[in-house]
Symmetry: C2
Subunit: 338 residues, 2 copies
């Protein structure tokens, strides 16, 4: 079954069938319906290979995902895939472990696949111009930015929440509920990356309220996995450090931290309030429901692709968006009873 057969069956020209299939104007409604009915009946599938062959360059967009255990990224990836597809580009996907170098992976992908653009889903916050000269196509930092780096704003784009501010707000929720012994869990506190920004936000919220930062309550988990959250919370409880609340920098780790609290016979929120950042659908189903700062993941994903397309097709320079995170009041935070 070819486009010729469809045209013959409908008594119209090939170009008319093509116009219908490509949703072009100047076809009567009657003919449009007839053609679509014939396509449907015959199970005809348009063959775009010929069009592909005459293209002068690839329409491939590289997507490099760092941190494969990150559920927040899994959800965003579906939106990114759909948006890239909808715009007629191919997505070439690479998953990296958290400790792999996304810039080098992106550069290799660019050369191997003749990419038109790159979208980094997660990455370091400290790129230098020398390092990024490896990348010869427009790129967008999705869910992070260059806070600790030296790139010029015009040389790249980024879409992410303000990590410092979001952590500041989360910790402020705990302080407003009367807590002052607030434990905090970060991958690391000095990684020039997302965790350092969130650690800084935690410290700033405490200081603003006259609460000293107690190093005994700050835990570096050494990773974002659930086991990191579980192990770290358990160790802190066993250390005997007193605390009535915990700020955990990611939902997945917070879910595991709540499990550790339960396993140590601590009630949430009565014995320990818990707040996190992410807003995964999953964390609505913990008992109690997790109180967390919701990142607008769909918006971040969709805007990242839109901006990348504008850079590729319209030559637009660096664009930087900072969508707001919003508090979801679950049941994992309660007022401190004095």
């Amino acid at each position: 079954m070819t486009i010729k057969d469809i045209a013959r069956e409908c008594g119209v020209g090939i170009s008319t069938v093509s116009r219908v299939l490509n949703n072009k104007p100047d076809v009567s409604e009657e003919v449009r319906k007839k053609v679509l009915a014939a396509v449907e009946t015959n199970g005809y599938i348009p063959n775009n290979s010929a069009r592909d062959l005459v293209k002068s360059r690839s329409d491939a967009i590289g997507v490099v995902v760092r941190g494969t255990g990150n559920l927040f990224f899994s959800d965003m990836l579906k939106v990114i895939a759909a948006e890239i597809d909808r715009r007629g580009y191919d997505m070439i996907l690479r998953f990296l472990a958290t400790d792999e170098d996304e810039v080098k992976a992106g550069a290799i992908l660019e050369r191997e696949k003749k990419l038109r653009g790159l979208l980094f889903l997660g990455g370091r916050f400290n790129y230098t111009p020398a390092e990024m000269s490896l990348i010869g196509v427009p790129y967008v930092c999705c869910s992070y930015t260059n806070s600790f780096g030296t790139l010029r704003e015009s040389d790249f784009s980024s879409v992410s929440i303000d990590d410092f501010k979001t952590a500041y707000e989360a910790v402020s929720v705990l302080i407003a509920a009367g807590h002052s012994r607030i434990a905090a869990f970060f991958d690391a506190c000095d990684d020039h990356s997302i965790s350092e920004l969130r650690y800084d936000g935690y410290c700033a919220a405490l200081k603003k309220n006259g609460i000293p930062v107690d190093p005994a309550l700050v835990v570096q988990t050494g990773g974002f996995e659930m086991e990191d959250g579980y192990r770290s919370m358990k160790s802190l409880i066993e250390s005997g450090a007193g605390f009535t609340a915990a700020f955990v920098e990611a939902d997945m780790m917070a879910i595991a931290a709540i499990k550790a609290l339960h396993d140590c016979h601590k009630r949430v929120p009565e014995d320990c309030s818990v707040i996190a950042i992410d807003g995964l659908k999953l964390s609505e189903y913990t008992s109690p429901t997790l109180t967390t700062m919701i990142q607008p993941g769909e918006e971040i994903a969709r805007e990242s692709v839109r901006i990348l397309m504008d850079m590729i097709e319209k030559g637009i320079e660096g664009v930087h968006l900072r969508p707001e995170a919003h508090l979801r009041n679950g049941g994992s935070v309660c007022s401190r009873q004095l």
Copy 2:
């Protein structure tokens, strides 16, 4: 920086550098180290575009994922991506909603991208030869098979657990613990798909033990999402139907069902035991830890790619693997106190 520069710097020929970069034998350890050091120092990235250009056909493998909320698939996808990449192929990825037609999507992808093979991650269990004639390249059904269809075994490959047997075993665990009022939650019971097989396994285990199937305890959730599991469990509790245990066909729904039990002031497992199928890492962190049948997801993913490659490269006919699921004893099942 080109391969020539690396060769000149090391005082060896271009072909030697190439052998090192492609991990070929017959290069002395000393030379190998020297070349790798030069590559590292100079930040040289091998350019494979020329090789790509002379290829007579594409090396693209289509991966069509149905059911985007399925975490089990998210984990497998990473293994599939890595395996396809490791073997020198490109992965072209499409995410579909649960109600979209994976065969048509695969056929369109095949023509547009000139695929060498297709891997369906999730799909219907009732394909016909006429329907599959749309697909002109080797394909593997990953995590499902053709139980309700009419394909010849030699015409396709499949890798999945035995859904009937796994459900039978899960329900048998509850029966062995003394339960006879066992509620069960399925997407649907007559969908000619995974849920029907698991429903049949549930019924068979009951019958084998002389327990009648009570339709009031069988809930069709109308989906695999967490909200489907939550809503369905809540409705069943409110219906007043008495039950002491529940078999839920997927971990994600079971996690939400446990939340519904908690919200209705039912203790797990004291008031209701819960068992599921999947074995997500996530379900280790519910309170209590979910008792579930662990699917060997990594093995299913890896073997699916291996078999697809054998079909493409060696012309091997249909291969069908049924790896075993294994019980993980969590804390969500207890003996029925009479």
